[in-house]
């Protein structure tokens, strides 16, 4: 095999692989520092469940930043949506399968408000959403005024943040979660099948493709990572519903941003709004859509968080927006607009959650934890800027 080719492929794609490498380094470091506790099935499973509500916010925030805006209101919007969901179930006794879609829809509708202020009134997003930040914070306090923390007694709802997908009722392989294994294996097969199919189509068009060896190496490498994650998760309770939701969201968003006309239009608006407008793209419409999806994901984040705590608290959502922004930037989004991937935001959220989890295991004081996370955020953005210019 030609090592030079491999080097070239890695160099050309350093920005894409950089975050995965960073995550790998962080996990390895914590694995060593905690004598392997960090990569135990239980810890990894917890870590994924903890990052869920920030990851979905980070994915939405990535698109907001891609179109050169910001949304500071999403943290308390998430908290407010979680509180409304709790009230709908506890006081109004709505069934859970009604509550969830209604809350998601309401989130999207509320997202249209900053969309309107930014697109139509031309108010800077920072100010418009700072107003939302204050309003939703007040709104949480208003709706929880009489009761304080609202306990959620609905098992189906609470399973979203705490439950795991059911296992197959067979006695084979007693210590592992069989359905998780099967899902993982199917995912790997699907991935390999898809890659080969894509490569065949490209060859049919006579396009340049990776050489056989490097292509095989890539397949093996990615399959190993997927397999490894599956194995680790199946060693504890299996795949949680949070992970399922997170993967679904990132999968759908990845598809929309990379393959659809809407996705291309979002990135064009971010790269150059004037040129996009003159190319027949309705920039206002795109702005509305991006803020609405952010509102919807904020609602989802609120549901995940409330479900995880099995209650809606008066402080839910505090600092979520800043964690989401950090996840997006660690994930490689550019503040100049037009550049940034939703998969990056997922990795970014995992990086930040891993730091918290690892340092907690090492019993590092919270004060130093903040400092370390700040340094990592700065380092990630420095890396990003440095590799972009070269």
């Amino acid at each position: 095999m030609n090592i030079k080719d491999l080097q070239r492929v890695l160099q050309e794609n350093i920005r894409e692989y950089g975050m995965f490498i960073a995550l790998f380094v962080i996990w390895t470091a914590f694995a060593i520092l905690t004598d392997g506790i960090f990569i135990s099935s239980r810890n990894i499973s917890n870590l994924l469940n903890q990052s869920g509500y920030i990851a979905v916010l980070g994915i939405g925030m990535t698109l907001i930043i891609v179109i050169r805006h910001i949304d500071l209101s999403v943290g308390f919007l998430a908290g407010f949506m979680g509180a409304l969901a709790a009230i709908a179930m506890a006081s109004w006794e709505w069934p859970v399968f009604v509550v969830i879609p209604v809350i998601l829809l309401l989130g999207a509708l509320l997202g249209l408000i900053p969309g309107f202020l930014v697109a139509q009134m031309r108010i800077p997003a920072f100010v418009a959403t700072l107003a939302g930040f204050l309003i939703y914070r007040g709104a949480i306090l208003v709706v929880t005024q009489r009761t304080g923390t609202i306990i959620i007694a609905n098992d189906a709802f609470n399973a979203i943040g705490n439950g795991y997908i059911p296992d197959l009722p067979v006695s084979f392989l007693p210590e592992t979660h069989k359905l998780t294994l099967i899902v993982g294996i199917l995912a790997i097969i699907f991935y390999i099948f898809n890659e080969i199919k894509g490569r065949r189509t490209k060859q049919a068009y006579n396009f340049e493709v990776l050489s056989n060896e490097i292509f095989a190496l890539k397949l093996i490498f990615v399959s190993l990572i997927m397999g490894g994650m599956t194995w680790v998760l199946s060693g504890y309770n299996g795949m949680s519903w949070t992970v399922v939701i997170m993967l679904l969201v990132v999968g759908i968003y990845h598809f929309i941003t990379n393959r659809t006309v809407l996705g291309r239009h979002i990135y064009a608006v971010g790269g150059n709004p004037e040129a996009a407008e003159l190319s027949g793209i309705n920039v206002k419409k795109i702005t509305y859509i991006v803020f609405a999806q952010m509102g919807m994901l904020a609602a989802l984040s609120g549901i995940l968080f409330a479900s995880r705590l099995q209650s809606a608290t008066t402080t839910a959502g505090t600092l979520f927006e800043l964690d989401a922004i950090a996840a997006a930037f660690v994930g490689g989004v550019s503040a100049a607009g037009g550049v940034g991937k939703v998969t990056g935001a997922l990795i970014g959220a995992l990086v930040m959650a891993s730091l918290t989890s690892g340092m907690n295991l090492m019993s590092i004081d919270i004060s130093y934890q903040y400092i370390v996370r700040g340094i990592i955020l700065a380092a990630a953005v420095i890396f990003d800027v440095a590799t972009r210019n070269s």
Partner: protein
């Protein structure tokens, strides 16, 4: 005149990863002369000037810079300014919201300790403005001035730093004829006062008018230096040296169309500009026939771009007061560029970086942007088909790029313009509006664009070309409309059009 050169650059070599931008270039400028530096885009002119002004510091290039008899090793722009070298870039570097006097002394404020002496600043600014013959109140905001006046403010700023060598990078590319004349007069006046000047330009007419010496650079090498006072100099000679071949006529021949089929008719088009608070277009009427190129000539700011944008349905800042568009005889109204594109109209912007291209995206994504729906099945883009489309245009328009995955921000001006053109050809328009189609691109690329235009009209497209370069208007159009201060002041068939007649009509209002 002192005969020792004020500046000598010896054996300058500068390499970028993979490219040798300058290869052993030597260049000398005599004291008190106007020295024009010409060459195609990408020839290395700007790189050479960036080395001279310290943008690329000593150590990043090979060779010597000798200024006023001393070898210089500039670490940054400030070093070069300290010895009296000032560079004015194509894109003006003024702060639009600051006043004229704040801008003139920005970076070298007149101060007593940490406090700025505003009275002295204003007094000296007034003196500087007088030197450049600019009669404005130094307290007005720069953004209220036209481009021509802003350029003069830039020069005043350079003069305030006791400049000995003034470098102007394409100073006239955004100016109208009057402002160009003003600027050239000013350069002559500065020459009288002993300021040496290097001017980079694409406009050979200006070279012929002011240059004492001309140096031609091609492919990173000095081709020749011609003394205008002792040697023979003509536009033909310069062009021949620039492109390495003689171009007899840079406007390729085409039979002028005499179709009678009118594809576009605009009547009484009157448009109100909300930002300026007045009508910028008044009762504009014109028509376009099938397979025809009509030229819109006029001064900068006469309203030609606004005419194109308001027809194209760009709602930003404009309100249509009156008027009608008929497309193939049918009345139409476009509320958004989207509608105009669907109706078969394409608009290639004059400012490809600001309004034309998504610089962060690659060639492929830029070409497909305005017509993604054609490549999509149920809104999912067929990327393989997209690659084919992009490659097709890359080949047919001869876009010079390693591959279609190249970010367009990294391409040269001429190739960016071709990408912009490719994007609009892919929407398969019937009517193509080209706004300054060859601004800031070199002679070779211009010729290619003109050739493409001719091919397009032969295929039955109709083209509206807005251009401030009269030779281009005369060389390419079948018919010419002249716009002056928002009104059409004349229509000339190509046979009756001359530069003098056009200028006469363009300055009527």
């Amino acid at each position: 005149m002192n005969n020792t050169p004020i500046l000598e650059m010896k054996n300058i070599t500068k390499e970028f990863p993979g490219v040798k931008a300058l290869d052993n270039v030597s260049f000398a400028v005599k004291r008190g002369e106007i020295h024009c530096l010409v060459g195609e885009n990408g020839a290395g002119k700007s790189t050479l000037m960036k080395i001279l002004s310290g943008v690329y510091p000593h150590g990043q290039y090979d060779g010597d810079i000798i200024f006023n008899g001393e070898t210089q090793q500039f670490r940054n722009i400030r070093d070069s300014e300290n010895v009296g070298i000032s560079i004015i870039y194509q894109e003006l570097a003024l702060i639009p919201d600051m006043s004229v006097y704040e801008n003139i002394f920005l970076g070298h404020e007149i101060s007593n300790g940490p406090l700025i002496n505003w009275n002295e600043t204003i007094k000296q600014s007034t003196a500087m403005l007088k030197k450049v013959n600019l009669d404005v109140n130094p307290a007005v905001q720069v953004k209220t001035l036209g481009v021509g006046k802003q350029q003069l403010v830039e020069i005043a700023k350079a003069l305030s730093k006791d400049v000995q060598l003034l470098i102007l990078d394409e100073p006239t590319s955004a100016l109208n004829e009057d402002d160009v004349d003003n600027l050239l007069d000013l350069l002559r006046a500065l020459r009288q006062q002993g300021v040496t000047c290097i001017m980079i330009t694409h406009k050979l007419k200006e070279v012929m008018s002011v240059a004492d010496t001309v140096t031609v650079i091609r492919d990173g090498q000095t081709i020749c230096t011609i003394d205008a006072h002792t040697e023979e100099l003509s536009e033909q000679i310069i062009i021949k040296n620039m492109v390495g071949r003689a171009i007899d006529n840079i406007y390729p021949k085409r039979d002028h169309q005499r179709s009678t089929e009118v594809v576009l008719e605009v009547d009484n088009w009157t448009v109100f500009d909300r930002t300026r608070g007045r009508n910028i277009l008044k009762n504009v009427s014109f028509n376009l026939k099938k397979g025809e190129i009509i030229g819109f000539a006029g001064l900068m700011g006469s309203g030609r771009t606004e005419l194109a944008l308001s027809i194209f349905g760009n709602p930003e800042n404009y309100t249509l007061v009156d008027g009608q568009i008929r497309l193939n005889g049918e009345p139409k109204k476009f509320n958004h560029p989207h509608d105009a594109i669907r109706a078969g109209i394409a608009y290639v912007s004059e400012d490809r970086k600001k309004n034309g291209l998504i610089l962060t995206q690659d060639v492929r994504q830029n070409i497909s942007l305005a017509n993604l729906n054609e490549l999509a099945h149920q809104t999912v883009i067929d990327e393989n088909q997209e690659v084919n489309v992009a490659n097709k245009y890359k080949d047919s328009l001869n876009i010079k790029t390693p591959n279609i995955d190249q970010t367009v921000g990294h391409l040269s001006g001429g190739n960016q313009q071709k990408v912009s053109l490719a994007k609009w050809l892919f929407v398969k328009p019937d009517i193509l509006i080209l706004d300054e189609p060859t601004r800031g691109i070199d002679v070779g690329a211009k010729f290619e664009i003109y050739t493409i235009m001719n091919q397009l009209v032969e295929q039955g497209l109709s083209i509206i070309m807005i251009s401030s370069e009269l030779p281009e208007v005369l060389g390419m159009s079948d018919r010419i409309y002249i716009v002056s201060a928002g009104e059409i002041t004349g229509e000339l068939p190509i046979e009756e059009a001359t530069q003098e007649r056009i200028m006469h009509l363009a300055t009527r209002n």
